[in-house]
Symmetry: C2
Subunit: 397 residues, 2 copies
């Protein structure tokens, strides 16, 4: 944890999104070491941070650890074409857009290709493949790479690895302007797997699904050079990734309470928090009011209802130390747009954080992607040579 | 409802935030007529739209309806000092910041005052009053107006109207650089009151609390020229507002499924929706995948668990007509960052929206403030003289 000078924190108007540079670096190195050990390329998902500086730090960590294919700038995954635009403008070239493509984005895809981006898109049906093939054949001068999305766990999109339609989708992707490149999967079920054994099993399920689908494509006479898998839990808990060519992961850069609940990280490895001020009390209800409401925290409830319930976030002191004797005792239990209500996690209204108006606190996020999305920039603490630095993030589509 | 040319909608990349100009106008006129009838000033809360054009439309509707104190630009309420900055830069001058003030915002308040803004802030304790008085006494050349926040319903911040400390807070606000202006309350309980009788009772509870607190201040020898109340439900259902000088309301401009659940509006009066495309199917699970996930919709669950559960939003066709024979049959039942899963509201997996990839749909928001906050601009449909216009919104603190 970066030591934060209290006077420095006092210069920040609350609420604000804090990024601890030392914890970020720790998290990046952990993932890079794992990828280097497994011998697989890392294609970080920039949807979590939506920030050029964070992606640059990822690239540097991969290079330093000797991750295969690491470069500066390196390969990235995006969740929106806006991310592709922004990263392309800053020099990134090898970009995978990992959300099924709708036809009203074809023109945007073509613009990115013509700007020199090596863009890969995904789809999971003959219908979508035919639509893209028809568009690409009508004069796309630079080909788009296509991965067939595979459903490893019944959680979202994709064809099951054993789906009868798989070769037909591949067949629909033969033609000018596009190139079938392989398969991609994401085991969202990993966000519901707690503990090392369950996480390892999820990683293997994800790997096996992708490798099996790629093998079926090859057996049917198609090329499938790319076998892309990933999520933060499966990436960090995979014992081996034989047959996989790249791993995608996003939230590993910051970590969050969901990852802590699953046993993927400890709470004191979470690099992101929302700095907030006490603005009042309701002593008879055990409430401390803070100026971080759902606008600053997001409404994401993480794994509440399934595993740990932290309300809208876990409360730390200004230095980022979890409050309470055993730790983890105080949460943001309710919120309005710009008000958060901090209570004891037990719900015991006779217990109250008795802190003066103006006291600074930090709130750890349930879900880093969602909390970060509520902010326009990061206040980065602990960078060498800069007490406090602002890294912008972008939004929209 | 504005007729949306299908070819026009086809030019928008999804997901996108649509604003129906005709419905917006209808909602603004409804509130303005109510305020004119009650004879009370309207101070719209710009936190919902965070958009200059929407605030301008509010001002015009108030002027046209003859709302007392209406002007162009008129009085506004803000939830952040960023909103105050942006509106002040665009000419708005009479601004109330309706969130308890933390000391790390004092310098920002002073900057706004010195830029010529007639700024009003709120607080609810002797401690906070003393801190502000000390800062203001140390050389603020233009005074800040202060309202004491009153707790009308035990939902959030504020002093109870009968609280013994009330005169002491007022006493702590006597001094150079600041001026006690009265009281402010917001009956958040109105968001849990369903039906006309319950809403009318909430409006009266809110009015009575504020008027009582102001009377106590006056009886103790303090001036209290401002008695500010409001929320969209209480504003629209108040039968009389005797003793109240101004009403604040925000979500009335757009309306949303929460307001529809309470009986404040009909679903076909909701002006805001998220335009989305079908990107795939999982037929065996009854799923239609769309490109509006929680990033486009927000994670706000509205009044689920209490009244109607619309998942993350109610699905309409591209023209904004609620889908299903009886209406209200299809919802976004789950979402990832950029994926939404549309299912039948009954949970019956044998029922599925069988629509081709690329089909456009609209999703009505549970909570307009939260959904709009996920976007950088509005695509405004149906403005005179412009088929489609983009109105920017801003974010951050």
């Amino acid at each position: 944890m970066a030591d934060a000078d209290p006077a420095l924190l006092g210069t920040i108007e609350t609420p604000a999104l804090l990024l601890d540079a030392a914890r970020l670096q720790h998290n990046l190195q952990r993932m890079a070491r794992q990828m280097a050990a497994l011998g697989v390329r890392l294609r970080p998902h920039v949807k979590t941070a939506k920030c050029l500086e964070v992606a640059q730090a990822c690239d540097r960590a991969s290079l330093a650890a000797g991750v295969p294919g690491a470069a500066e700038p390196g390969p990235i995954t995006v969740s929106t074409l806006r991310e592709a635009d922004r990263f392309a403008a800053a020099g990134w070239r090898d970009i995978t857009y990992a959300v099924g493509l709708s036809p009203n984005k074809f023109a945007h895809v073509q613009r990115l290709l013509e700007a020199g981006v090596a863009l890969t898109v995904i789809l999971d049906s003959v219908e979508a493949a035919r639509a893209l093939a028809a568009a690409a054949a009508a004069g796309w001068r630079r080909p788009v790479q296509v991965l067939v999305e595979i459903d490893a766990d019944g959680q979202r999109a994709g064809l099951r690895p054993e789906a009868a339609e798989l070769p037909a989708v591949a067949a629909a992707l033969q033609g000018p302007g596009l190139r079938l490149a392989g398969v991609l999967t994401h085991c969202g079920g990993a966000y519901h797997a707690r503990g090392e054994a369950a996480l390892r099993a999820m990683a293997e399920q994800e790997r096996a699904a992708a490798v099996h689908a790629a093998a079926r494509l090859r057996a049917a006479g198609f090329e499938a050079p790319v076998v892309s898998v990933g999520s933060t839990p499966t990436a960090l808990f995979a014992a081996q990734l034989d047959g996989v060519t790249e791993v995608r992961a996003g939230v590993h850069v910051f970590m969050d309470l969901m990852m802590a609940s699953l046993g993927v990280c400890r709470a004191d490895e979470i690099a992101l928090s929302v700095l907030t001020s006490v603005i009042g009390q309701q002593p008879q209800r055990g409430w401390t009011l803070v100026d971080a409401g759902w606008m600053a925290l997001s409404r994401d409830r993480g794994l509440a209802g399934e595993f740990d319930d932290y309300g809208l976030g876990l409360v730390c002191d200004a230095q980022g130390r979890v409050l309470g004797e055993g730790g983890g005792e105080w949460i943001v239990s309710a919120a309005n747009q710009e008000h958060g209500i901090v209570t004891h996690r037990s719900g015991d209204a006779t217990r109250r954080l008795d802190l003066p108006v103006g006291t600074l606190l930090r709130v750890l996020p349930n879900h880093a992607c969602a909390t970060a999305a509520q902010h326009t920039h990061y206040e980065v603490l602990g960078l060498p040579g800069a007490a406090l630095q602002r890294w912008p993030r972008f939004a929209g589509w």
